[in-house]
């Protein structure tokens, strides 16, 4: 029997961090044209964020050439990154691919100026946010309050999603209409009663398998995914999304706990609308005006969700305690899980694939078993996602034992459970039926040569082949028949 090999998938879950958090953004940017980037690079904040989202080596290549008066020459570059001088131009192009994708090279002069400006503060686009001087009597939120507000708002959306998929739902507040609209249009939630998909009732949405997968992502990935769904939604309505994306990046360069002026930082009407939308996801905190007419104060405070957009590492920003809070799982080799948490959302997510046995005020004890894991897989959650979730939330105690963090037994078992579901595989096939053993053998060899043999049944002299090779194989059989008949 062939031993299953999960080494590749393990690797994926192991070092997937870093670049993957902004995968949604990367896909979006990869599909944009030069003109879109030109629009985008008008803002210095965007230049800075895009620079930071590049791989580290490429970041330094850009910084190296930033102040150079000459263009980038292949010879210099080869010397810089210690490559042999006879390296082909294609390979050099390949090395520079991330830079070409972001249109940093080629049309460099433009973004170069902007990046230079962002380094020595001579820009004019106000892209880092115009600070707001709060009055003395104004209630300025502290950093803790901002983090709490951001977490609460964001988690209430996730909680709403997860509770729609559970029989005994949590007590949740239904998010605003726009949020529901986004959840629906992104496919994270769907209205099961509305089969035609034309007139969904936003009040009885249930979570989809895509939604379940979304729940297991880490926070940074979730945030970018939602933002990109938002962007595509806006794209369908209006044409130019560049100012919106540049607003995201501007938020990403703002500082936690500082006040910014909404009207001065983001002048256009569209950007104002986006800002008030983002408020509903907990990206910014904006107080109501004291005059009670429902309008919003000009000052806004970005929360940690916004300020860490371009950081690539959310836990770091939250500080040690908060980061520690994210790591609460102890997984034993006997499949028992101890979760030191009282967070409703975390428990609800765990409940998706863990059989929860005991609940104490700050501890949940459960067990990973076949039934629950397979139920989760039915919902569309893959083994790799469960493993990634368990790994990223592993308690610091788990790091004391030698790596890997999760015991291979459990990781392999999860993969096996996943494989179990895929034991049957449906393929389109063409069947050949033969009368002579000789012809059957020849055709089987021929089909193997085409690499299209799906199944051979020698006892019944049946061959099942890929439809793609049906034509050549039939010609071959006909030729063989003619030969056998001696023609």
């Amino acid at each position: 029997m062939v031993q299953p090999n999960f080494s590749t998938s393990k690797k994926d879950t192991g070092d997937g961090e870093g670049s993957s958090a902004t995968a949604a953004l990367d896909v979006f940017l990869d599909n944009q044209h030069q003109s879109y980037f030109e629009e985008l690079y008008k803002s210095e904040a965007v230049c800075l964020c895009i620079l930071r989202l590049l791989p580290p080596v490429h970041r330094h290549i850009v910084l190296h050439y930033l102040w150079s008066h000459q263009g980038v020459s292949a010879i210099d570059l080869k010397l810089l990154i210690q490559q042999p001088e006879d390296l082909s131009l294609e390979l050099i192009q390949d090395v520079l691919k991330p830079l070409h994708d972001r249109k940093i090279l080629g049309g460099m002069t433009y973004s170069q100026n902007k990046m230079r400006w962002s380094m020595n503060d001579s820009g004019t686009s106000n892209s880092f946010g115009v600070p707001y001087q709060p009055d003395d009597e104004e209630d300025v939120p502290g950093v803790d309050e901002l983090i709490e507000y951001g977490e609460e708002t964001w988690e209430s959306i996730l909680k709403y999603m997860v509770s729609s998929g559970l029989a005994n739902g949590l007590v949740t507040i239904r998010p605003r209409q726009q949020v529901l609209q986004l959840l629906y249009s992104s496919g994270l939630m769907a209205d099961n009663a509305d089969l035609s998909g034309e007139r969904p009732n936003l009040e009885r949405l249930t979570i989809t398998s895509k939604g379940f997968q979304f729940l297991l992502e880490d926070r940074q990935t979730q945030v970018w995914e939602i933002l990109m769904y938002y962007l595509t939604l806006r794209e369908n309505r209006e044409h130019n999304t560049a100012p919106i994306l540049s607003l995201f990046f501007s938020l990403g360069t703002m500082q936690l706990g500082h006040a910014y002026s909404a009207s001065a930082s983001f002048a256009s009407q569209a950007q104002q609308a986006v800002l008030s939308d983002l408020e509903q996801y907990g990206f910014i905190l904006r107080r109501q005006k004291s005059s009670d007419d429902g309008s919003r104060a000009d000052a806004f405070y970005p929360t940690h969700l916004a300020t860490s957009l371009c950081s690539g590492d959310l836990a770091g920003q939250l500080g040690g305690a908060e980061g520690e809070e994210k790591r609460f799982l102890i997984l034993e080799t006997n499949y028992k899980i101890y979760a030191y948490t009282s967070n409703e959302l975390e428990i609800a997510i765990l409940n998706l694939f863990v059989d929860i046995r005991i609940r104490y005020p700050n501890l949940v004890v459960g067990k990973l078993d076949r039934k629950h894991v397979k139920a989760a897989m039915e919902k569309g959650i893959s083994a790799a996602q469960i493993i990634a979730y368990l790994g990223s939330h592993a308690h610091s105690q788990m790091y004391l034992s030698p790596p890997p963090i999760l015991h291979p037994t459990i990781v392999d078992q999860l993969h096996l459970w996943d494989k179990e579901r895929n034991r049957l595989k449906a393929d389109d096939a063409e069947m050949f039926e033969f009368f002579s053993k000789e012809l059957y053998d020849d055709t089987e060899t021929e089909a193997k040569r085409y690499d299209g043999l799906l199944l051979a049944v020698p006892s019944a002299k049946l061959l099942f082949v890929d439809p793609a090779i049906k034509e050549p194989l039939r010609d071959y059989v006909k030729g063989q028949q003619r030969q056998l008949r001696g023609e």
């Binding site: 904040a45 930071r52 580290p56 330094h60 210099d76 810089l80 390949d94 590492d313």
Partner: protein, 341 residues
């Protein structure tokens, strides 16, 4: 054939850059009055490589502290820009005194803090303004100190050792060496010394100043420097050194700083006086240690002068006599070690 980018690291840890800036007034007055060498004296350039052509033709010229600061601020901003979570700490070393310039220790007394400007990324703004203010304060302090002492102490060497000790303490306090239990990714730390003071000539004609400024500009600081170096070596903190006085001024290289960077696997480089400092800083000193060997290249390190300083006269010695008990170095054999008796 695999592409070279496959071997590039996917991510690097956040890095803390500790900058030690030599602001010794005498050294900078020397630097700002560098004269182009007599063209007849200098040997003709020997067939420069093509891409070094422009470089070799750039004239040797002076640099002033304000000019250099402009360049330095851009370099520090680049460091902050290159990764989220990168930090910068700046110490200044003047004649016999060192001080933490940034981050500002006790906040801004009385006056309002750094003003945020809408076109500056706020960490850049804080660094620029904080450093500028810190430097101005320190220079004012130094001026009054010098006036009070009638210029005495002006000939003291820059307190690089004191700054380096403070830097190591800072690192130890803010990013302690990883314990086996900690799970957080360890930060990279490195020290960059920008040295404006030439090493005193070890030639015998310069003997009077040699005793004054101590061998290699490190009077009494030799032991301190070496202790710092070994501490940094143990903590795996590279000490990078940029020496500003170009060779054309006829001054010696600061051999002990060169030893320091050699022992801690840092980069030592001496400016050639031909401008281009911004590009040099970016090329040589910007890449974090994780990227230094691969894929980026480092300038070739010159042969390191490994001579030591004797403990009795603070002279640089070619042949020394070492106490077998305490390993002190002396320039002549002594029956009883002065250090450990």
């Amino acid at each position: 054939m695999t592409t070279p980018s496959a071997s590039f690291p996917r991510s690097t840890p956040p890095s803390l850059l500790i900058l030690i800036l030599d602001i010794h007034p005498l050294s900078w007055s020397l630097l700002s009055s560098i004269e182009p060498p007599d063209p007849l004296d200098s040997p003709p350039p020997i067939a420069p490589a093509e891409h070094h052509y422009l470089l070799a033709r750039a004239p040797i010229g002076p640099i002033t502290l304000p000019d250099f600061l402009n360049v330095l601020l851009v370099f520090l901003n680049s460091h902050l820009a290159s990764r989220w979570g990168n930090r910068v700490v700046v110490f200044a070393a003047s004649a016999g005194k060192s001080k933490l310039l940034y981050p500002t220790a006790g906040g801004y007394d009385g006056e309002e803090g750094p003003k945020e400007r809408p076109n500056v990324y706020s960490p850049f703004g804080m660094l620029d303004q904080g450093l500028e203010r810190g430097l101005k304060d320190m220079i004012a302090e130094e001026e009054t100190r010098m006036d009070d002492q009638d210029g005495e102490g002006l000939n003291d060497p820059p307190a690089i050792v004191s700054a380096m000790t403070k830097a190591l303490c800072y690192i130890n306090r803010h990013s302690p060496p990883p314990s086996s239990e900690s799970t957080a990714p360890t930060n990279e730390t490195r020290i960059l010394v920008i040295n404006a003071t030439p090493g005193a000539g070890s030639n015998s004609s310069d003997n009077s100043s040699s005793t004054k400024s101590g061998g290699g500009g490190m009077r009494g600081g030799y032991v301190g420097l070496m202790n710092c170096v070994f501490a940094a070596q143990k903590a795996k903190i590279p000490i990078d050194v940029l020496t500003l006085p170009p060779a054309s001024t006829g001054t010696e290289a600061p051999i002990f700083l060169q030893q320091a960077s050699h022992l801690t696997e840092g980069v030592y480089w001496r400016w050639n006086g031909r401008g281009g400092l911004l590009q040099y800083l970016h090329t040589i000193y910007l890449a974090p240690p994780a990227l230094r060997q691969t894929p980026f290249s480092q300038p070739p390190q010159d042969a390191v002068d490994f001579r030591a300083v004797c403990f009795c006269h603070h002279d640089v010695v070619d042949v020394g006599f070492v106490c077998s008990v305490c390993l002190s170095i002396f320039c002549k054999p002594l029956p009883v070690c002065q250090m450990c008796k």
